[in-house]
């Protein structure tokens, strides 16, 4: 038996990466489906949202259909994707599952992506359920610009994943995640335009709010789905793209900040 390895590229091939992530994701999905409470909650949240937004009469500049979809994406990204992933990553770290995963061929990034897949699938499924609800209610209208909501959903999901990974650096246990996630869950979502239109805030406050991590997702959704800018102005597709650079830049900026913070602060094992 030889005791040296053949010269080979140190970077794994894309198919090998996908195969490994898919294998881990299948295991994680099986775990999720065995958690009846989580499965039930995942189905109930969209239904409650569809019922609650019209019932509560949440005011806004958008028609009901787009308003429901914006609320669905925003609430799901914050309360399902971000919150669940912080708890999942921390619990797996404290149980030494993450460290075990790193002893094999999976890279660190593959471990995180594979672990996050069920949560990301639930996010997409919940948004899809709300979209079906909107159609059933007869409130569906064609998006002003289809690409912007897609960017908002996918970019938002990616952002929540990296922010969840970054948040684990100051979260010691799954229980303490209830506290450490509060800044993003409460503060930034309150200032995102999700619950209250940004146009009602004084301009300096609105400007600060537009720089928060969840706000660009809401802005891009409103622009793409209903052609409504952050200050309530109606625009066409060209106008939607014209108003998109700032939220796109803020989203990209937070992705960079979140990725750097996650790369520097993420721990794979409990503190000794």
């Amino acid at each position: 038996m030889s005791t040296t390895l053949a010269p080979a590229p140190s970077t794994p091939s894309a198919p090998a990466r996908l195969r490994r992530v898919a294998a881990l994701a299948r295991g994680e999905l099986r775990l999720f489906l065995r958690n009846r409470t989580a499965v039930a909650n995942s189905g109930l949240l969209p239904l409650l949202l569809v019922a609650a937004v019209p019932a509560l009469g949440i005011d806004g500049e958008l028609p009901l259909g787009p308003r429901l979809l914006v609320a669905a994406v925003g609430v799901t990204l914050v309360f399902v994707t971000y919150y669940n992933l912080v708890i999942t990553f921390v619990a797996r770290r404290e149980e030494m599952v993450l460290q075990r995963m790193r002893t094999g061929e999976l890279t660190g990034l593959e471990v995180l992506v594979g672990t996050a897949v069920p949560t990301l699938l639930v996010t997409l499924a919940q948004v899809a359920l709300v979209a079906v609800g909107v159609v059933v209610l007869g409130e569906w209208s064609a998006p002003v610009e289809f690409l912007l909501p897609v960017i908002a959903l996918l970019g938002g999901a990616l952002l929540m994943t990296v922010l969840a990974a970054a948040s684990t650096s100051f979260t010691r246990s799954a229980e303490s995640a209830q506290v450490t996630t509060l800044p993003l869950v409460v503060v930034t979502s309150a200032l995102s335009g999700l619950l209250t239109p940004l146009s009602v805030f004084p301009e300096p406050v609105a400007l600060v709010a537009r720089l928060m991590p969840v706000t660009p997702v809401v802005e891009l959704l409103q622009l793409g789905l209903a052609g409504v800018t952050w200050d309530g102005e109606s625009v066409d597709a060209a106008g939607a793209w014209g108003a998109a650079p700032l939220p796109l830049a803020v989203l990209a900026g937070w992705l960079v900040i979140g990725t750097v913070a996650a790369t520097r602060g993420f721990r794979w094992a409990p503190r000794r």
């Binding site: 038996m1 030889s2 005791t3 040296t4 390895l5 053949a6 010269p7 080979a8 590229p9 140190s10 970077t11 794994p12 090998a16 195969r19 490994r20 898919a22 294998a23 881990l24 299948r26 295991g27 099986r30 775990l31 065995r34 958690n35 797996r92 149980e95 030494m96 599952v97 460290q99 075990r100 790193r102 002893t103 094999g104 061929e105 999976l106 890279t107 794979w268 000794r272």
Partner: protein, 315 residues
């Protein structure tokens, strides 16, 4: 080696499977590993012994590619386990001292999931049989006993047909029968040409399995060699019981008297000549040496001596 494993280069004569040179690792100001060096050849078991906090796990984590070295170098099959991880990992099997598994997957599901992430996994039924868990394949991990969970850990570590195996306290928590089964597994690995590094608190385990041993104390190797070489660093022991009316014992060169009659204990580094002289004296004086014991030094004795030095203020 399995035919579908990635190709390897031409054999290099006597190249070590693991090569550690002046390895250092620190946590802040605390230096956990202070310049250790060792090599492990294919088909060899190398045991790292040491009391808790000696630096064993910190050293292994570098070898496993889980942490970069603070200084020095580590080569696994000729490659850096951190920088060349994609090349090294398909050939490396790791059993961590502590690690978890999702409790709601069954034993078989855990193995299938792990197999899906490996380049060349062995069949899951074969892996289950290897660790005597075939009858527990459909049981959820959270329902396994501690020993069964450890055996599942081991099955996962060996699932990828590794050429280099790192076992951090592999039999902790196992009953004696399971421990012997694990020893059998390690011997099979070595017979197939794998290089094995293990840490253990069970000196009997090191005696059973290791070809060579290193004893770590405060991050440094203070003893290393074969079991026999290490044992020879400590004196042999002769014990016997002597009646009160027996003649005065002879003065034998090279003997340290540890206990006087009635239960006499001598330590010596020349067991055979001292024992021969004692028996000759007993025959000449018609003395019966009751409950006579003569024992060469053991690995345990050497380890305990090193551990005792670690606990003295001057150590």
């Amino acid at each position: 080696m399995h035919p579908s494993a990635p190709p390897v280069s031409a054999p290099v004569e006597a190249a070590p499977a693991i090569e550690v040179r002046d390895l250092r690792r620190s946590y802040g100001d605390f230096e956990a590993v202070r310049g250790i060096s060792f090599e492990v050849q294919p088909g060899e078991v190398f045991a790292l012994l040491g009391v808790n906090g000696a630096g064993k796990t910190s050293a292994l984590e570098v070898l496993e590619g889980l942490a970069p070295p603070g200084g020095g170098s580590v080569r696994v099959l000729g490659a850096d386990p951190v920088r060349d991880r994609a090349r090294v990992r398909p050939h490396l099997g790791v059993l961590l001292q502590f690690s978890g598994l999702p409790g709601d997957l069954t034993v078989a599901e855990s193995l299938h999931t792990w197999a899906g992430t490996l380049t060349d996994p062995r069949p899951v039924p074969e892996a289950l049989a290897q660790v005597q868990l075939a009858h527990r394949a459909d049981v959820r991990v959270r329902s396994l006993s501690g020993g069964e969970r450890r055996r599942l850990d081991l099955a996962l570590a060996l699932l990828g047909r590794p050429r280099v195996v790192v076992l951090d306290e592999p039999t902790t928590g196992l009953d004696p029968e399971s421990r012997r089964q694990v020893w059998g597994l390690v011997r099979d690995l070595v017979a197939d040409g794998a290089a094995v590094v293990l840490t253990t608190h069970h000196l009997e385990e090191a005696e059973e399995l290791a070809d060579r041993v290193a004893v770590l104390r405060a991050g440094q190797i203070v003893l290393s060699g074969t079991k026999e070489e290490i044992a020879e660093t400590q004196p042999a022991t002769i014990r016997f019981t002597l009646d009160e009316d027996a003649p005065v014992l002879p003065q034998v060169a090279g003997v340290q008297v540890v206990a006087q009659r009635p239960r006499v204990e001598w330590h010596t580094r020349a067991l055979q000549p001292v024992l021969a002289e004692l028996l000759a004296w007993a025959a000449e004086h018609h003395v019966v040496l009751r409950a006579l014991e003569a024992r060469a030094a053991s690995l345990e004795q050497a380890f305990l001596a090193v551990a005792a030095e670690a606990h003295t203020p001057s150590a």
